[in-house]
Symmetry: C2
Subunit: 485 residues, 2 copies
């Protein structure tokens, strides 16, 4: 199967080791000057706390000074950033090429005059969409743009429901008067009972429908009304994978059988499964991987039952796994029906098959339908990924990181295990929540940012310009932290 | 009650008539050179149609050439724009002050390095939030930022549910283990049965929960699963208002009684109403106004039942009504509990009371929580509104437009009626859907853009820089169109 041009480039070009930093002007190493948070961050947090909920804020960023892989905070502390704004920074802070983008007057005017894109798109818009599709589409012909990952999933569900009902109604059959009347009042048959099947520990966003498919942490869901939609177990593998093959294969089978069961069960009780949403790697929920075989079979199951398969690549997409789309690793027999994205892509959106495109206007619609300013940034990020061969950088850095993390899990087997993930999209587990929190905290105090995930996971989400010499610093600091625990 | 500083400015400064255009370089009048759509727009539409659903696109915009109130299309046709990207353009196309904003290096870096604002806000962020609150908050102390109107409403609902359950549970009572476990599986008691009451003909967005409160057109809702939430009638007034006072007052009473009934009914059947969402003027649904008395009583009803009142100012906010917030006209005894915004404000968000702020982090949360680049644009728009005294411009232009539209509805009483709205946030009805569509079409062919709303409404949504001489053009063209029908 043909994937995107970027991927091919990075495969055809040979391996070249790059010694200097891809973003000029980076510091040589982290530098922590104050307690964390420092006095300036503390002061700013107090100010902000009077106007917004700030429970998740610790340090404030100095985005004038942050550069490449280095995040500088309000107190001048310099961090090597392997978390990158929850996996959103693609080519590092203040990449010189991105800073130039809006020097172009046309680009600036595209950004300032944000149109209602589904009604009055600009004259360069078709070309922009065409370029995006030809460069990065996972073999899907249509693209719908949104603003964030959550609303990409919400709207992708709508495409699914619309296509599912069209199939049921018959291709050219009109809506009935009863359907037209009842839907305005939220009632069937106009608003039918349909569901999206999701997986335990999944994270797909936080508005009502996307949150109904999110099952990661209670704090994200408690007190919020939800939907009776089917939830299957996602494979939970034992590591190292090579030593637990039989058990992990059984885990796949068990989860696939449950999916099949749930589809039949929900169909019988009048809430048919119109679609299945799944992350290629459950990210927020613990960097939980499943095998290519699992995804191949899941796709077959979906097809067998007339349900559409949506791959949520909001966190996995954009290159961190060493491929532009993580599901390229799965060797699916056809592309998924829909692939949603956001984060590193700067805005939200999804690719989909023609079958998933509504035949009438104003069904999947909102005022803006994307943002030319963000698309222009994305275009340049894609160009930089190609020019700087960043997927190969990710693969090489990832190899080094993973190899060393495997050594660490042997050396510090009382502290960590289950090293996993492709590219630099890596994680490992700590032996307890407490140890996990200590590792993240102590890394931060040594000037390295990483994130938590799942119950006791530590996740790495560096930018694509995180090179082997950055990995060396990361690994040295992690070794120190593990030694000291 | 003290409202925003901008409002006070525009009230304290005397009336000054401005003869020349507020945005320099505007053409003197519309100029249509081709059939609509012209050949270039047709060609572009065909290109885009292969990649996206384009049923709502007619002409493509040339945003390099569009200026002030004038939209230029791909074929060089020049339109006086009284629709403004579905009410999103605040100070006109290519306002010279907005084009300068990102010449500032700090601003550019704020825009390029988009942070996860709820975790790593920038050092200038507290000051920016403080300025927004002090300049435009409708007397509400907290602000949560989002990306669009739909997700502002979705997330505002979450604040409502969280506060409602906290009140029920008791201020400092912990979640139960059962709540924690069940909510992850979408089940009560962790995911309780709660509802938001909305009104017929309302439009609050198009993701699941916001769409469940939208009841405007079937095409927006058909085939999409929804929620059993209460829906009340919104007052439908007879015009002219002065001649139908008794009947319209009765309409208010009937709708208020229905709200009361529905709250009691839903409470009894175990789906209590945690909040009420309402537009100050139903915009998409027909520019339907309700009286200050209606809103005052609605607020009292909400308070009496412990439901929070959310005013959706996504379309009405930002100055088009002649006040910065439309609900300033209602003289409510306290501010609403929440006020959502988007469109002219460049990004989404909402103001709210402290009671509506979650006490724990990660409950109302997403990756970006707004966008500094858009906030910087908004800051400058607010500055321009103040410096150019635009609320007064809106009031003066609106007065002229409305006065003349009233004359037209007498002169052309076989074609139009029910002129309504404050400021330039105006609408009138055509006698039939067909006549409405003809008016909009014929206006467009004469080079004036306006929009439809409701069943047979024509709505005006010009930018705040739409001056009296622009109104003259609009009125002259409308008169021609009505004469020719």
């Amino acid at each position: 199967m043909m994937w995107s041009r970027i991927i091919k480039n990075s495969i055809t070009l040979g391996q070249t080791r790059i010694a200097s930093s891809l973003v000029p002007g980076e510091p040589e190493c982290p530098d922590i000057k104050t307690d964390l948070p420092g006095p300036e961050s503390k002061k700013l947090r107090k100010e902000l706390g009077a106007m917004q909920e700030t429970g998740s804020v610790e340090v404030f960023g100095d985005y004038d000074k942050s550069i490449g892989n280095y995040f500088v905070d309000a107190d001048g502390n310099i961090f090597l950033d392997a978390f990158c704004q929850i996996s959103c920074v693609s080519v590092g802070y203040n990449h010189p090429e991105l800073l130039k983008v809006f020097n172009d007057e046309h680009n600036m005017k595209c950004m300032i005059n944000r149109p209602a894109l589904a009604v009055f798109p600009g004259i360069t818009w078709p070309k922009r969409i065409q370029n995006l599709l030809s460069q990065i589409s996972p073999c899907l012909p249509n693209m719908t743009l949104m603003m964030c990952g959550t609303c990409s999933n919400e709207n992708a569900f709508k495409n699914i429901f619309i296509a599912y009902q069209r199939k049921k109604r018959g291709e050219n059959v009109d809506f009935s008067e009863e359907e037209k009347k009842t839907c305005v009042l939220n009632k069937p048959p106009g608003s039918p009972n349909l569901s999206i099947l999701s997986f335990l520990n999944a994270f797909h966003g936080r508005t009502m429908a996307s949150l109904a498919t999110t099952h990661s942490k209670y704090i994200q869901k408690i007190d919020l009304p939800s939907l009776n939609w089917p939830i299957a177990h996602f494979p939970m593998y034992k590591y190292p994978l090579e030593e637990n093959k039989r058990e992990n294969d059984e885990e796949d089978q068990k989860c696939l059988a449950e999916v099949e069961d749930l589809i039949e069960q929900y169909d019988k009780c009048g809430v048919p499964v119109a679609g299945i949403i799944v992350e290629p790697i459950q990210s927020e929920g613990g960097n939980n991987e499943a095998s290519p075989h699992f995804f191949q079979e899941l796709q077959k199951t979906a097809k067998r039952h007339g349900a559409y398969l949506l791959l949520d690549e909001v966190q996995t997409g954009g290159g961190g796994t060493g491929r532009f789309w993580c599901h390229e690793y799965f060797d699916l027999e056809t592309p998924p029906d829909l692939v949603t994205f956001s984060k590193k892509m700067q805005l939200g959106g999804y690719f989909h098959t023609l079958e998933l495109t509504p035949k009438l206007p104003s069904r999947v619609f909102n005022t803006w339908m994307g943002d030319p300013g963000k698309v222009i940034l994305l275009e340049n990020i894609i160009r930089i990924i190609g020019e700087q061969n960043l997927l190969e950088v990710v693969q090489n850095t990832g190899k080094k990181l993973k190899c060393n993390l495997h050594d660490f899990e042997k050396e510090f087997c009382h502290l960590i295990d289950s090293v996993r993930g492709p590219g630099t999209f890596l994680a490992f587990n700590a032996k307890s929540v407490k140890i996990r929190d200590q590792i993240i905290r102590n890394m931060k105090c040594k000037g390295v940012m990483c994130g938590g995930c799942g119950i006791q996971g530590v996740r790495l989400r560096p930018a694509l310009i995180f090179q082997e010499h950055h990995a060396d610093i990361f690994l040295a600091k992690l070794r120190e932290v593990l030694m000291e625990l």
